[in-house]
């Protein structure tokens, strides 16, 4: 069902008082190569508010922000920034006009110090004309800025030694030093631990009390609902919903984003719980500083979730199980066979599959075609011994058959490069790669990270289907809701230790969070 027609004109909204907007977009239009990606986008940003921009991938969020950031130039429409017409010709113009863009891929020099990063391009000089940097003044001003964002590191520290969250704070400090009027956050929490996210949210709250307007873009609706004063929903380049947060529910947001109502993000599974034999048996696995004494098992057809804060050892545990990282003590057995050689190739021949959280660097060959990626793990099954000649006909038949089920959207499996696909379709390629091997155990690390709501549903559907066919699934996610929707059991990790195992009947987000954050609670 279509929720509503696109709103094209900006109207005054209730609750905005008589304050003038800091930034207004009127009918901003942009097309690339004859394809219109923004159809008259209009919205306002007021000082002292957080405006959240949500929408699926490809809805036009990034294009809008790139226009504001001076990366793209709009085709038509007006932008007014602090009462003046705003027409940036490059990122430099945007910076000078007071628009700061905190991006997913942080633009920071990791080999330089914090203070050098803060003042890159405008170092305080000793004397008026002398081309000599005054490090004393540099340090003083850097200290002030770091204090303003509550970052407790020495200004001369190298940025490479900082965590992603701390680097982000450095960038925010830089934005503040430039007298930013508008700060744009694009998916700021993707590389942060939850503690760092909390810190970021606190900082955003504080920035809000100054006369700064904040635009916050995120896929994580929980964060959006928490931070937003007002929300703008984009779909296919149109503003489809706009209003104060109080007037919206998460369900409405999702409906507006996908343009159809999603019955449920999580498929209904006919069969639940451990029905078959044990596939994965983990006993007392320890690696100093990473995980300690982890024991659990996963049975055929069962989906077991792993919850825990960032840094709790979730991803590390998965990497140990798949032989990517070493472990010192303990036993791992797959289908009754102990894993003696911890190597991905050995794990794969034992029937394991692994979807990595780092799709771009570890999951896919971005330059390769869809087919080249799909076939990679299964190749040995299609090679004749002893020379290893590949049976391409059988392989392509199998790939085509599998794609009937997976529905990867691409022109031609053999020719379309993976990098041209959307995030969701790329993730399907990774899943498809492992499906070709018919794995006994599938370990999924953040399977729905960075993909839009519609694709999430499809990916979850594929995982459930896999479990229904008898594969044991171990699924890691930082979205608790997703784990509770998908899993039969949830393991909770807490600082490298098993904080508890919770059965589906006892699922309760508070109990899980408690087990993740406190020691020794749970069963």
């Amino acid at each position: 069902m279509e929720t509503e027609t696109a709103i094209t004109k900006s109207q005054p909204e209730p609750g905005d008082d008589l304050q003038a907007p800091l930034l207004s977009l009127h009918d901003v239009t942009k097309s690339f190569f004859g394809v219109t990606v923004l159809h008259g986008v209009s919205f306002d940003v007021y000082p002292r508010e957080v405006l959240c921009l949500v929408g699926e991938n490809g809805s036009g969020k990034s294009t809008t922000m790139n226009i504001l950031g001076g990366v793209h130039i709009r085709d038509a429409g007006e932008i007014v920034l602090a009462g003046a017409d705003y027409k940036p010709r490059g990122p430099r113009d945007a910076e000078n006009a007071g628009i700061a863009f905190i991006q997913q891929e942080l633009n920071i020099f990791p080999n330089l110090s914090v203070e050098e990063n803060l003042f890159m391009g405008r170092f305080p000089q000793a004397g008026k004309r002398l081309p000599i940097i005054s490090f004393r003044r540099l340090r003083e001003r850097a200290r002030e800025l770091l204090a303003a964002v509550d970052l407790n590191v020495p200004p001369q520290a190298s940025v490479s030694a900082l965590s992603p969250g701390e680097r982000q704070l450095v960038e925010i400090a830089k934005a503040l030093s430039l007298d930013a009027k508008i700060i744009i956050f694009d998916e700021p929490t993707t590389s942060l631990t939850s503690r760092e996210s909390e810190r970021l949210f606190a900082l955003i709250e504080r920035l809000r009390s100054q006369t700064i307007g904040i635009i916050y873009i995120s896929h994580l609706l929980a964060d959006v609902m928490r931070l937003a004063d007002r929300i703008v929903v984009l779909r296919d380049g149109h503003v489809v919903r706009r209003g104060p947060k109080a007037a919206m529910t998460v369900g409405e947001l999702v409906n507006a984003m996908v343009g159809r109502s999603i019955e449920t993000l999580f498929p209904n599974r006919s069969r639940r719980g451990a029905t078959g034999t044990t596939v994965l048996e983990v006993q007392g696995v320890s690696q100093p500083g990473i995980v300690r004494n982890i024991s659990f098992s996963v049975a055929e057809g069962e989906i077991v979730g792993v919850a825990g804060l960032m840094g709790s050892g979730r991803t590390e545990l998965a990497r140990i199980l798949f032989g990517l990282d070493p472990f010192e003590q303990g036993h791992i057995a797959v289908a009754g066979q102990p894993l003696t050689r911890p190597e991905p190739s050995a794990c794969i021949s034992a029937g394991m599959a692994f979807l990595t959280e780092d799709r771009r660097h570890e999951g896919l060959m971005m330059e390769g075609s869809v087919a080249a990626n799909l076939e990679l793990a299964a190749l040995p099954d299609y090679a004749s011994s002893p020379i290893g000649i590949i049976d391409d006909r059988r392989l392509h038949q199998r790939m085509a058959a599998m794609n009937e089920q997976l529905q990867i959207k691409c022109h031609n499996l053999g020719a379309t490069p993976v990098k041209t696909l959307s995030g969701g379709n790329q993730q399907k390629v990774v899943i498809g790669k492992w499906l070709l091997r018919r794995p006994k155990l599938f370990i999924l690390d953040e399977p729905t990270r960075g993909i839009d709501v519609g694709a999430k549903q499809e990916v979850n559907q594929a995982i459930a289907q896999l479990a229904d066919q008898g594969t044991a699934v171990l699924m890691i996610s930082s979205e608790l809701e997703e784990l509770m929707g998908m899993c039969d059991r949830i393991l909770v990790l807490n600082r490298g230790e098993l904080g508890g195992i919770i059965e589906r009947s006892a699922f309760d987000s508070e109990a899980i969070l408690l087990a993740a954050m406190w020691k020794g609670i749970g069963t």
Partner: protein, 369 residues
């Protein structure tokens, strides 16, 4: 004298115009790709640039016709035969190099392997004081020595690059210097001069013999090319090589034994260098440590001209062949035109540079291999 000079000037112009043509082709492709309004046109323009075999053949045809205006004998059967025979060792060595380039490595030690193989095999086979002089096993043992040198150097390079994670550039540069030095030193024990001659007749026949009118060396090179093509396009090892070159981490996560694949690439490269040395040594009929010194630049240059990427993950045997053909014909044409050696080097250098520019451009627009 004056006539010759005038001749030279004309030829120089011809050459320059050929180069200009190359530049034009590259630029127009680029421009077309950037300007083309629709996605389709853009794709098509990129297609021409990324499928460089057609481009190489086109350029080659233009070049040959251009040279033929001044020196018609470039179109003779004799020239064709000369070119094909001359390029055989290079073909085999470049095919080997392609394997290493595909895994995003580089093998600078190929010419040193050729020199060392040449003198060690010659020291066994030579009639004047060879270890197995006059023995029936001399030739098989000599061939074994060629391949043995290749295998050892290849395994060493591979282990350094894969297990010890050293950059292959520096590893193979070091082995190149070491092995080349070793070859000269080794020669001093077996010969007063810089080479070891008097090789047995059956071995020399590889160089000059024919089967049904076709040179044996040619048949050997064709067989090597066919096997290499089969390995790259049809086998598990081939797919793994491309996967490692495109994304080593993803390959490892997908169960590809990355270390073994990289070692295999270096061993194949060095074995191919050894096979090239067999063809070359039998043709010059002496074992010499400086056997392939003049090929050092050409091996990597030819691969890049053909479209084998220095960034890894991209390259075929056909591309290697095209690159060698282009470079050898270029060389021959410039010789026929009577250009001086430094002029030939300068032209070759600029052509390789152009090919590298195209490689970078291709990397930017890259589609599947």
């Amino acid at each position: 004298m004056r006539v010759v000079r005038g001749h030279d000037a004309v030829l120089g112009t011809a050459c320059a115009s050929c180069q200009l043509f190359c530049v034009l082709v590259v630029n127009t492709t680029k421009l077309a790709a950037e300007r083309a309004g629709t996605w389709n046109l853009r794709r098509r323009a990129q297609h021409v640039a990324t499928h460089s075999q057609a481009l190489v053949i086109g350029l080659l045809a233009v070049y040959v016709i251009g040279v033929a205006i001044f020196v018609p004998q470039i179109l003779s059967w004799q020239t064709f035969r000369d070119v094909v025979i001359a390029m055989l060792p290079l073909v085999v060595a470049v095919i080997g190099q392609t394997f290493v380039l595909i895994v995003a490595g580089i093998d600078l030690s190929a010419t040193a392997v050729m020199g060392m193989g040449s003198v060690s095999a010659a020291s066994i086979m030579t009639g004047t004081g060879g270890y197995l002089a006059g023995n029936a096993l001399a030739v098989p043992a000599g061939i074994f020595a060629f391949l043995g040198v290749g295998f050892l150097v290849g395994v060493f390079n591979g282990i350094c690059a894969a297990r010890l994670r050293m950059p292959s550039f520096i590893v193979t540069l070091a082995t190149m210097m070491f092995v080349a030095g070793l070859a000269v030193w080794y020669t001093t024990f077996h010969s007063r001069s810089v080479s070891i001659s008097n090789l047995p007749e059956p071995f020399r026949r590889i160089g000059y013999g024919t089967v049904l009118g076709v040179p044996i060396a040619f048949l050997l090179a064709v067989a090597i090319a066919l096997v290499a093509h089969g390995v790259l396009s049809r086998t598990l090892l081939g797919r793994w090589l491309y996967a490692v070159g495109r994304n080593e981490k993803a390959a490892r996560t997908s169960g590809v034994p990355v270390e073994r694949v990289v070692i295999a690439a270096f061993v194949i490269s060095a074995i191919c260098a050894a096979l090239a040395a067999i063809i070359y040594t039998s043709r010059v009929e002496t074992g010499t440590p400086v056997l392939a010194q003049n090929l050092f630049l050409d091996i990597i240059g030819a691969a890049v001209i053909g479209g084998v990427s220095l960034f890894g993950g991209r390259g075929t045997v056909m591309a290697a062949l095209m690159g060698v053909l282009f470079l050898t014909v270029l060389d021959k044409g410039l010789q026929l035109l009577g250009l001086s050696l430094f002029m030939v080097l300068a032209v070759k250098g600029s052509v390789i540079l152009l090919a590298a520019v195209l490689d970078v451009a291709r990397q930017k627009w890259s589609g599947p291999r």
